[in-house]
Symmetry: C2
Subunit: 251 residues, 2 copies
DNA sequence: CGCAGTCTTGAATTCTTTCAAGGTCAGTGG
DNA sequence: CCACTGACCTTGAAAGAATTCAAGACTGCG
């Protein structure tokens, strides 16, 4: 590879990663060419996953975290009596598999909702790399801390909020996450089913459906199947005021 | 300091730390004498906190994590409309302040429930130490991952469990955490008020009170003010079966 | 076209909360 | 020593929110 080719490759990587959570992790910290190159070296890019295909199952030996490049993923657990509990959704630029850091295996299962492509980062190598790249380790910690903070927000949501406040908060979360990645904050598609939304928010599917109808009556938004268009973001926000922020990225 | 004195000091530290979460972090990983010494060097031991005294407030600049040595702590947030949301309780041997890793400041507030003593670990130094101690960084990651996993469990609890299942799960969590530190699994004191329990579990205080009465009628346990004695751990467990584990340590 | 899965809508039921009142306990001061 | 106070906890009854049950509608697909 010539010097010029190498440079191009690095530039391409920067572009491909710039909408990614991992950008937080490395790019803004004045990574040198060689450092980006090192990170690139451990990235495994994979074939896209089809809807319903699993990235990993709870109990699988954990060896990597995954960054979503496109599509959407769902993390969930199966309770002993066979129920599913949705833990979160990952949109492009977000990470999944962080719970695998806790031990030898994943504690959650991750499934593609739509056709999705991901980058895999084997964390053994990520760990080694942390030793040589001064900022990377700190950023990993921050990312994990962020995950904890975001779970705390969700806890607050489920702990004391009404069904209405939960759904409003959920929609605002999606909105801001799409915006963060340069997509429209007021018009987007729900990658998940009503079933998944209800499960995630601790609500019956019928309640979710009724709330969408109610929000529509109130002229807060329009909803057509999966397509959401937020009409009155301000009023939606006022519904969750006091809810200390929205749901942010989740595992 | 003579060689012998130094050795004694290290042994004392090992003893004082062995019931601590940080033991997970260092001791079982064949830490050498010098390594324990290094860790000891960054530990700041503090005066005990009195009930109602704060370790840190949300918004404070975060620079350390804290390990509880005795007593009990409560983490919480205040929502914009002034409500409190309890995020978790820390018992001896557990850590608080991990959410501070997310950014420059803490996102939660931490208060002593009873007289409590803690070890403070400035994480700038912890971070530096990670570079020299091979196992420490990995253990930090694991600890953070554990925190995430534990939040996920709580999420599942609040998401779809009945009031009865929530309280049962809460009590079993306390039980197993006390047992882990070598205390009785079936007889312990609740360090927090009914108010705090209700808030944490997303229940009204009256509901908590009624459930204690109900559990007592069912001969599952006896409760006298703060004192709990679990009579039928097995049946209590069967109530939360399918709840995928209990609540574990929280921020 | 017709089937299967997903979503919506209505009515009855259940669980939990809210409101209200009373009880217990520890500390305080007469 | 005992009544008083305030914080915390318990208990009952009424009200409300969300779920469950049930039925029907829409969509995409073979």
């Amino acid at each position: 590879m010539t010097g010029k080719e190498k440079l191009l490759k690095i530039e391409a990587l920067k572009v491909s990663c710039q909408n990614c959570s991992l950008a937080d992790l490395c790019l803004p910290h004045s990574m040198e060419t060689d450092e980006v190159n090192q990170l690139d070296g451990i990235l495994k890019r994979q074939q896209p996953y089809q809807p319903g295909q699993h990235l990993f199952h709870a109990g699988d030996r954990s060896s990597s975290i995954f960054a979503v490049r496109s599509g959407a993923l769902k993390s969930y657990c199966i309770t002993e009596d066979g129920d599913e509990q949705v833990l979160g959704f990952a949109l492009p630029g977000e990470l999944v598999g962080l719970d695998g850091l806790a031990g030898e295996t994943f504690s959650s299962t991750c499934i593609a909702l739509g056709t999705s492509s991901v980058c895999e980062l084997p964390f053994i190598q990520l760990e080694e790399l942390c030793h040589s790249l001064p900022g990377l380790q700190k950023q990993m910690m921050r990312l994990l801390g962020k995950e904890i903070t975001s779970d705390q927000h969700l806890l607050m949501l489920l702990g004391q909020r009404s069904a209405e406040e939960r759904l409003a908060s959920f929609l605002l979360s999606l909105s801001s996450r799409y915006m963060l990645r340069g997509l429209s904050a007021n018009e987007f598609n729900l990658p998940m089913s009503r079933q998944d939304i209800g499960n995630y928010l601790g609500l019956a599917i019928e309640t979710v459906s009724r709330l969408f109808a109610h929000f529509q009556e109130e002229k807060l938004l329009t909803v057509n199947r999966k397509q959401i268009r937020i009409l009155d973001q301000a009023r939606l926000k006022s519904m969750v005021d006091g809810c200390l922020g929205n749901i942010s990225e989740s595992a």
